[in-house]
Every structure is written in structure tokens, then in C-alpha cells.
């Protein structure tokens, strides 16, 4: 199976080398592509210096745009599976193999989930995670343990949809919509690392706004959206 690792990177100069070198040295069986989303730091220089396979946006589009570029690249080069992989080192590549296994079993989407074997810690963020989980359960009838995990693998069919559709960002509401359109979703236990360098995007206000957006999108807007 031709597998592509999509690494969206925005100002990840401090992390990208460590993440990508690990992939190249320890997992040469997978292809990777870095999507440099108009970074203002030295991310692009690092890619050139090390001869990485990278695509560079001339301006910043945001995570959704970057991941979609990866999907378009995957579609163009006819990959069988594509995984979204954070450029900051939070995701561990050893879970790619078991996730790929699930794709081979016929699942369309596989989520690298933090909470299959482990219980969710009770924190504010996990409360948000639970809320989205409940919303997805309510609208699709499918229980997803880790809705906000950024580590998601998609099969060929999903790659095509994500590459061509507008407005299907790498967020839980997209997963919910795809489930309702008939996609089969599975989860694999994956442990994630804390950030080593750089700052997390999620502050409290942003988290609250994010939650509100997700809830409205999943509970209300989903019914009006047409997908393929």
C-alpha cells in the first residue's frame, strides 16, 4: 500500500528536523511530504538544506488549507492512504503501521486515539472532547473516543473527497459528516508526546470558540450540508 505522511508545518523550524529525520531514518517504507504553510521562520530553509520533500505555500492558508494541499498531492500521485502527522513531534510514527492495518481491513478513516485503553483525564479540555464525542454519537450513532485527535489516516476514497471538496477541514465535524455520508471509522490506541518546542495554538478563549464552532457545525449545520 502506497502510504503518504502529510506533515503540515507552520513556523515549525524548531521541530521539523527532529520529526522528519526520525521518519526518514526509521520509517523509510512510507513517503512523506511537508506542507510549509507560508512559515515566517526558517522552516523552508531547513527543508532545502536537508533535501526534504516539501511543498511551500506562498501565503499562510491555515491548517485546513495545508492538509488539503497534502490530500491533493496524495490524489495526484495516487496514494492508497494518507495520514495527517503533526510537524511538532506530538505524534508517534510507530502507530502508522497498526492504523494502516485498519485501512487494509476496509475502514475509510482511522483515528490515532489517545483514549481507547486509557481513560480520559478529567480536565477542561477533555470535557470539550467529551462534548464533541456526545454530539457525534447523537448525530451519527457512532462512538468515537478521541474526536479531537489530529492523527487521522484516510483511505483512497476519502483522499479524493478531501482533496476536491471545499470546507472539509481536519476537524471533528468533517469526521462526523463523512460518517453520515457512509464512511467507516475505526480507532487505534496511540500515545502522544507533549510539545518539545514552540507554543500550542490552543488558549482558553480559542478553545471555547473552537468548541462553540464544532458544536454548531456538528449539531446544526451538518444537516444542511451536501457531501458527496
Amino acid at each position: 500500500m502506497k502510504t503518504l505522511i502529510i506533515i503540515p508545518a507552520y513556523n515549525e523550524g524548531e521541530n521539523i528536523e527532529r520529526v522528519v529525520d526520525k521518519l526518514i531514518n526509521e520509517y523509510p517504507q512510507y513517503d512523506y511530504v511537508i506542507i510549509n504553510d507560508g512559515s515566517k521562520d526558517n522552516t523552508e530553509e531547513i527543508c532545502i538544506k536537508n533535501g526534504y520533500n516539501y511543498i511551500s505555500h506562498p501565503v499562510n492558508l491555515g491548517l485546513a488549507g495545508a492538509v488539503q494541499t497534502g490530500m491533493k498531492y496524495a490524489l495526484k500521485n495516487s496514494y492508497d492512504a494518507a495520514i495527517q502527522f503533526d510537524g511538532d513531534g506530538q505524534h508517534n510514527p510507530e502507530y502508522i503501521a497498526p492504523m494502516l492495518e485498519k485501512i487494509k481491513q476496509g475502514n475509510n478513516i482511522v483515528i490515532g486515539s489517545r483514549f481507547i485503553e486509557d481513560k480520559k483525564p478529567s480536565s477542561l479540555r477533555m470535557f470539550g472532547n467529551n462534548l464533541i464525542e456526545a454530539a457525534i454519537l447523537l448525530t451519527t450513532g457512532k462512538k468515537i473516543n478521541d474526536t479531537t485527535s489530529g492523527m487521522r489516516m484516510f483511505d483512497k476514497k476519502m483522499i479524493e473527497i478531501l482533496a476536491t471538496a471545499t470546507d472539509l477541514g481536519p476537524e471533528p465535524d468533517t469526521v462526523a459528516l463523512l460518517i453520515r455520508k457512509g464512511a467507516k471509522v475505526s480507532e487505534v490506541q496511540a500515545y502522544m508526546n507533549d510539545r518539545v518546542a514552540g507554543e500550542s495554538y490552543l488558549t482558553l478563549t480559542r478553545s471555547v470558540a473552537y468548541m462553540a464552532r464544532m458544536m454548531i457545525s456538528i449539531l446544526v449545520l451538518q444537516w444542511f450540508r451536501k457531501g458527496k
Binding site: S56, P58, V59, L61, G65, Q68, K72, T166
Partner: protein
């Protein structure tokens, strides 16, 4: 009010002449100016209209109409921005992927 609507109109026409403004987008503002001008020159129209529709005061009628027009404008602008955003995303992605491809081809040629 007459003065204000004339000033606005002059402003719109000047912008069109300096081509800061696509003609198509200026229609809305020209029509709005005309409307304001008509209302200010013939306030009677306004009085009878608001009376006919059962408003307590003509000013309420004017405010309602203008707020509605502005809301409609903001809504359509919002739709337009979304469309532009989508186009921009597609454009940037296409450009990025194409130039990546070119670099790769260039490298291959260099090796050969």
C-alpha cells in the same frame, strides 16, 4: 441629508473614476445614494410611505430600511469573501503543488 447624499455620491463617482471600484460593485452604492437623495428632496414620499405601512414615526421607517439594506449588504459581502477565500485556497494549493512538481522535474533533468 441632501448635502450628505450628494457628498456620498460624489465620493462614489470619484472612486469609480480612479478605478478603485469595480463598476458592478458600485451599483449598490449609487442606488443607495439615489434613494437617500430622493428621500431628502421629497420627504413627503417618506412620510406617506411610513404612514401607509403603519410606522409611528417616519424616522423609524428610514432607520429600518437602512438597517435592512446594510444587513443585506454585509451578508452578501460575507458570502463573497467566503467564495474568494475558497478561490484563493485553490489557487495557492495549485501553485504550490505545480511549483513542487517543477522543482522535482528540474532535479531529474539535472541528474540526467
Amino acid at each position: 441629508m441632501i448635502i450628505v447624499s450628494v457628498i456620498v455620491m460624489v465620493f462614489v463617482f470619484r472612486k469609480i473614476r480612479k478605478s478603485h471600484f469595480v463598476i458592478e460593485d458600485s451599483f449598490y452604492w449609487i442606488l443607495l445614494c439615489v434613494l437617500l437623495l430622493v428621500f431628502s428632496i421629497f420627504p413627503k414620499i417618506c412620510y406617506s410611505l411610513s404612514d401607509f405601512l403603519g410606522f409611528e414615526a417616519p424616522s423609524n421607517f428610514i432607520f429600518l430600511v437602512i438597517i435592512f439594506l446594510l444587513l443585506a449588504k454585509v451578508f452578501f459581502l460575507s458570502v463573497k469573501i467566503s467564495k474568494l477565500q475558497t478561490k484563493l485556497d485553490n489557487l495557492v494549493q495549485r501553485y504550490a503543488i505545480d511549483s513542487h512538481e517543477n522543482v522535482r522535474k528540474g532535479k531529474k533533468n539535472a541528474v540526467n
